[in-house]
């Protein structure tokens, strides 16, 4: 098992923390697959197994009130940004205790406290949002950073070009993180982009950019710290191309006809968790019982989260029309402002859907 560059890890506790973060994501995603097969989770499910180092590394570089915008493969980002595993699973059960009260599901996890602006299921749909969040910070003079995660598939969308240009033109405090896992669903990068060096594209907008080994969490963290600090101190937008790989199918129903099994096993030899384990063990920083204790803690966290989700309650159908519009400031439960009982509902006799 190859180890990460054999540089001595300065701070053992920090390395253990990074390891724990990645294992938390890995176990959560494995449990999601199991729950999906047991028909407890429905709809689409995109797991992050294999790319854990990217989220773990980048999140270390952020301050609590920075903002994060992600995609539909965002369970790991949400978990490491502070959304509890229980709230995530309950959301996928469609329960009221879910982080979005059952309305978002796997692809739309949001959390206001963590400034986690969620899962965005339209490829590249989140990029303009991140630009806008950064624009607000710049106009209000706040030293905050907005990090925007997206896959290399998003690079082919018009919104990528428009957002990169706006961010560079207005020198906005946004960090673009492209998780290049080589496949946009079933289309290999080489079959969708004329120029496959993603970091090079950023140069076209005068945005400084680096490519980073997305399987080496220490490398990701180091690059992320450098980029975030530059952005926070007014250096304008930055761009990281994190070269990583997803060990599982695009989503639950994908027979993976588009790639060779050998390629998958080759990448699995650089499993980000195993890499860090190897490095720490080589440096004598990961005795067996520490590793056992860590995995036991994570398994306990995940099974508690499953219990939380199982005991969740369905959001009452009477709440269906809430949050289509904001609740009026005075009344708690009234579904929406304005005279008409339900906007578009005409005289109050029937609901909006009537």
């Amino acid at each position: 098992m190859s180890t990460v560059r054999n540089q001595v890890i300065r701070d053992q506790d920090h390395a253990l923390h990074l390891l724990r973060q990645m294992v938390r994501v890995r176990r959560l995603e494995e449990k999601c697959i199991e729950l999906y097969s047991a028909a407890k989770i429905r709809g689409f499910l995109h797991v992050y197994i294999g790319e854990e180092a990217v989220a773990a590394g980048v999140m270390e570089a952020l301050e609590p009130d920075d903002a994060v915008v992600a995609t539909y493969r965002e369970h790991g980002h949400a978990l490491l940004r502070g959304v509890s595993a229980g709230a995530i699973l309950a959301e996928m059960y469609g329960h009221a205790e879910g982080c979005c009260r059952g309305r978002g599901g796997s692809m739309h996890l949001f959390d206001a406290d963590a400034r986690f602006y969620g899962g965005n299921a339209i490829v590249a749909g989140g990029l303009p949002l991140a630009v806008g969040l950064a624009l607000a910070d710049r106009m209000a003079g706040r030293r905050r950073v907005t990090v925007c995660f997206f896959g290399e598939g998003a690079v082919a969308e018009g919104e990528f070009h428009e957002s990169m240009n706006l961010a560079a033109l207005w020198q906005l405090p946004v960090l673009f993180c492209c998780e290049n896992n080589l496949y946009a669903m079933g289309t290999a990068l080489g079959r969708s982009e004329s120029q496959t060096d993603i970091a090079l594209k950023a140069a076209g907008y005068e945005i400084s950019a680096w490519a980073v080994d997305g399987m080496d969490v220490l490398a990701v963290e180091e690059a992320a710290r450098r980029a975030v600090d530059a952005v926070r101190s007014g250096g304008g937008p930055h761009f990281l191309e994190l070269r990583t790989y997803r060990f599982r199918a695009h989503s639950m129903f994908d027979p993976e006809l588009y790639r060779e099994k050998t390629e998958v096993t080759r990448w699995m030899e650089r499993d980000p968790i195993a890499l860090l384990q190897g490095t720490m063990q080589a440096a004598g920083q990961l005795p067996e019982d520490t590793w056992a204790g860590l995995t036991a803690d994570v398994d306990a966290e995940i099974s508690a989260a499953v219990g939380f989700a199982e005991n969740g309650t369905p959001e009452p159908v009477s709440e269906l029309l809430r949050f289509v519009y904001s609740d009026p400031p005075d009344a708690g439960g009234a579904a929406n402002p304005g005279g008409a009982a339900t906007p578009g509902g005409g005289a109050g006799k029937e609901g909006a859907a009537g």
Binding site: R103, M139, S326, G344, G346
Partner: protein
């Protein structure tokens, strides 16, 4: 004071930006060019480039950025030059602005105002002459306004900016030059109710935005034939103020809906359906609709006028509704 629809809207923008420093205007050529319809003329000099922000031609990009800024605590007014270009930003408007509050279980609302010019009649050809406000009125999560009068042009913006949810304001291109009287202290107006702008018992003429002037003209000509029409200016297309519509139809027993959109699936279709659902037993004739003919808007003037709702077509529909002995 004497003013125009365009100046009333400009006053609304200036007033809002003076009262709330979170408000800023963003859009193509709103700054140095002074606005493609000269609505924001002079505002760049007064408020500076940070708050009167010209954008590249990236509708999805800057509309999405406006939504992000609203999430970030600002109160952006995003100008999309015309509804025709808003098609490039539909995903951001429908999948983000209208949907984020519900998807996030009530955590994130989007206090954004998006203004766009709409409508035909100025020989701009098919791609620049759409009337699609009826489309947007189909989307739960959005509020859709159609200011037709100077008072509404002056007063709707501030109320819209107080709304924590996205508000789209459609300004018909042929209204900008309309001149008239406006109180000096004219201010914010309600955006939930329709208005009965003319009273009569023979029938109800229902319309909004750019077609209000021609409907009022038709109503006056009908009066000369002894047909007194109630005229309802909808003002808001979502939510629709059903109460005002039904009260009028219950009194007149006849309704004609005038809508510049194409007939199939238009806002007039929704209004006619609701009248049949809620005022069925008050109807003494089928609901009539006067819409644009279902053809891409032609360039030639005589063809364009033939396609659009006209005073004559409104009067013909009114006579049919009232019955031949009218």
């Amino acid at each position: 004071m004497k003013t125009t629809y365009r100046e009333a809207m400009r006053a609304a923008l200036r007033d809002a930006m003076q009262r709330d420093e979170r408000v800023f205007l963003m859009g193509e050529d709103v700054g140095s060019y002074g606005g493609s319809f000269a609505v924001s003329l002079g505002l760049l000099e007064e408020f500076g480039p940070e708050r009167i922000r010209d954008t590249p031609l990236s509708e999805s990009g800057f509309v999405g950025a406006g939504i992000g800024a609203a999430l970030g605590g600002m109160r952006p007014v995003v100008e999309i030059m015309t509804v025709n270009f808003s098609l490039l930003a539909l995903d951001q408007i429908i999948n983000n602005a209208a949907t984020l509050l519900h998807m996030s279980g009530g955590q994130f609302n989007v206090p954004i105002v998006i203004r766009m010019t709409t409508g035909a009649g100025r020989q701009l050809g098919a791609q620049h002459s759409h009337s699609l406000e009826g489309w947007y009125a189909h989307i739960p999560g959005l509020r859709i306004l159609a200011p037709a009068t100077l008072a509404d042009a002056r007063g709707m913006l501030w109320t819209a900016l107080q709304d924590p949810d996205p508000v789209l304001i459609f300004e018909h291109g042929s209204l900008y030059n309309v001149a008239g009287e406006l109180d000096d202290d004219a201010g914010a107006v309600d955006i939930d109710k329709a208005a009965v702008v003319r009273h009569g018992d023979a029938l109800t003429l229902i319309t909004y935005g750019g077609t209000l002037p021609l409907v009022l003209e038709a109503a006056d000509l009908l009066a000369a034939e002894g047909i007194e029409a109630d005229v309802v200016d909808l003002r808001t297309l979502r939510p629709l103020d059903g109460q005002t519509i039904m009260d009028s139809v219950a009194r007149t027993h006849r309704a004609v809906v005038v809508d510049e959109g194409w007939r199939s699936g238009s806002i007039s279709a929704e209004i006619a359906a609701r009248i049949c659902e809620q005022a069925f037993f008050d109807l003494d004739a089928p609901v009539e609709r006067v819409c644009s003919l279902e053809v891409p808007v032609p360039y030639a003037k005589h063809l364009e006028q033939a396609a659009l709702p006209s005073v004559e077509r409104v009067m013909a529909a009114a006579r049919r509704a009232v019955g031949t002995h009218g």
